[in-house]
Subunit: 370 residues, 2 copies
DNA sequence: TCAATAAATGACACCGGTTTCCTAATGGGG
DNA sequence: CCCCATTAGGAAACCGGTGTCATTTATTGA
């Protein structure tokens, strides 16, 4: 009975005293190494398991105890070791971003969106630029995942459209989310951006302005987005009674230089188009340069529309009418999707996720002359 | 003696046999979890310590044993757990990249350079975009380092020029390397890019072309690079007998819009400058737009020079004479420096490291008319 | 008053590596 | 033939957390 009383009483006193003790010790307490969970447990006179419960927000902790432990954690600046947590949880709290996209702004925007979601969930982001043409491409990606034991990977187009890469990720048992213009995978693994909407709006815009001789610069056929933009644009024009003649279509490579080449072909042909829709802003910039070189005035003699709303769209003069692709939202959605699947430890999340692109009208699109 | 013989002999047979056994087992051997060092040790009939020695290239392992273990590692696809290694080594093999630079291309280039060095050393890169103006800036940075226990951090300007941030990193005991236009820190912690060289070349170029009425758009004074570019440019002009009059200097914010504003001021003033040197390409693009708006022909009536050699320099028409800042090399050097310090576990590396910027002449710079 | 139950906490094994310390076998010199 | 240095390899503790299960104490119902 005496023993019981002691056992019952001591912890109370012990804990109550701990507040004082620690408060006093805090000034002089200096560790030559980062504090660990054991230090916290010792100072709080509890077991490390209880500290662990506090860290992990377990409901089975007395409020008083929790307050004491949190106070000590605060005072000594304890931060749980991610390595130890990772080892015990079998998780790394790390997401990977795989990209081979040459558009730097797109990548940075995606990164920001992904990180916005990561921060809320306590994840960090590891980046992996790569090159699909490299013979080490698949092996590099594999090592990337394994080397830090990534919990999940987000893949950006065009790499996201590589079936071998997806196979590698699947074999590794690594969760992934792919970004693409079309749904290539089960809903849980995809975030799609609807380029059809934006391309259709452009068609409507140009038709509404009165353009009939319209040139189109398509993207490279290996990009799914190129097909989407093309088909939607052609279809929407047709519904406005305008047929895009084959000789008014050129296929570019989403690069500035290819935009110049395609524009040169289109603009030296009769009848010369009164408007050109380039499948991305880079190529649209190539059209600008070519038009200026040929002495064609923009927008008086030529309306130009791009796609992406990259920074260059507003740097050009006149500013470029284009389609805004909300890259940051895209990144955020992908990360959220991935994190939900990782956290729930389930393959659910079968709802389709995506964003819609919308046209932004600026100065480069006006009615045709005469 | 018999026992001894057995003890001596068995391992031999054991190991020799292991090759066969494993070779046969490999086909049917399926684990429902990733293989661990224990699996390798068991299959190789050695202790896990010996496997550890092989992994870490210890010289105290028999060649035969090493070959057997490597064979098994290969066959079962064993990859050491980064969490476990991290826990034991007290290292994360993770580098951080802190940036608040609005220039996406610069960031992506830095990332690529950093990763080139990381790959060789077995490190991965975690990114952290931030905002110096946010009240959480310092705390976010601190958590960023702690959350994954980063081995080192690379800080890109202008964040790199924030002394409080550096203090936080130092307090955390986190190694860091700063990029900046000037040496703000001990040599071990810096990689500098010499903007003076490029700016001086521009001065020489413009003077050589015969320009005398030269306008200058400076960067924001909180950027060290802005000072470097300005001082060097002014100094070099002076050494060519040209004095930059105060009314020919405007201070921009390294943004497109500020370039427009400054250009408007410079170009509506008498005498109008025959050449404008903008401290970065973004602002130079603003000058282009303003000139076009005012009906000033480039380069006939106005020579323009930028700085950075960002993608926009070649997208503009005529293409922009500018100064190339080798961002990728910068990133690589910073990462190499950091990795050396981490690996050697010493504060050495007192040699200064840096890159030099060089002018790239394009179409926007010609002699003045008349 | 006495189980039965729930709440709060602790003891101990474990995650997958590394380090420390120790043993056994081998080879060479006296 | 013995001793010792050297090489190869193993046992156990450890890194810093988490899981499982047991234990203690307080509360409730019969």
């Amino acid at each position: 009975m005496t023993q019981d009383a002691q056992r019952r009483g001591r912890p109370r006193r012990g804990r109550a005293a701990a507040i004082q003790t620690v408060a006093m010790e805090a000034v002089t307490w200096t560790l030559d190494r980062p504090p660990t969970i054991n230090d916290v447990a010792r100072l709080a006179h509890v077991s490390k398991k209880t500290v662990s419960r506090v860290i992990n927000q377990s409901p089975f902790v007395n409020e008083e105890t929790r307050a004491i432990i949190n106070g000590i954690i605060e005072q000594i600046g304890y931060v749980p070791s991610p390595q130890a947590r990772g080892l015990a949880f079998q998780r790394s709290f790390l997401l990977g971003l795989v990209y081979d996209n040459p558009n730097a702004q797109f990548i940075v925007n995606i990164q920001e969106g992904v990180l916005a979601a990561c921060r809320l969930a306590g994840f960090e982001l590891v980046v992996h630029p790569c090159d699909q043409k490299s013979p080490h491409f698949l092996n590099d990606a594999k090592q990337f995942v394994q080397r830090q034991n990534l919990d999940g990977v987000i893949v950006v187009p065009p790499a996201s459209e590589n079936p071998q890469l997806v196979e590698v990720l699947r074999d590794l048992g690594c969760r992934y989310v792919r970004l693409s213009a079309v749904s290539l995978d089960e809903a849980a693994n995809m975030v799609v951006y609807n380029d059809r909407q934006g391309a259709a709006e452009v068609a409507e815009h140009l038709a509404g302005l009165g353009h009939r001789d319209i040139g189109f610069i398509a993207g490279p056929s290996r990009h799914r987005s190129a097909h989407e933009r093309r088909e939607s644009f052609v279809g929407a024009l047709k519904s406005h009674g305008i047929t895009l003649r084959p000789e008014m279509v050129e296929e570019g490579a989403y690069t500035f230089e290819s935009g110049e080449v395609c524009a040169t072909r289109l603009l030296t042909r009769e009848p010369r188009p009164t408007a050109i829709f380039a499948s991305n802003d880079e190529m649209a910039a190539g059209v600008y340069k070519t038009a200026q070189r040929l002495g064609i005035s923009i927008p008086r003699d030529l309306t130009i529309v791009g796609f992406d709303d990259s920074p260059i769209a507003t740097r050009l003069w006149p500013s470029l009418t284009t389609v805004r692709l909300p890259a940051k939202d895209l990144g955020r959605l992908a990360a959220e999707k991935l994190i939900v699947r990782i956290s729930s430890d389930e393959e659910e999340g079968h709802t389709a996720t995506g964003v819609v692109s919308r046209m932004v009208v600026r100065e480069s699109s006006v009615p045709p002359r005469g």
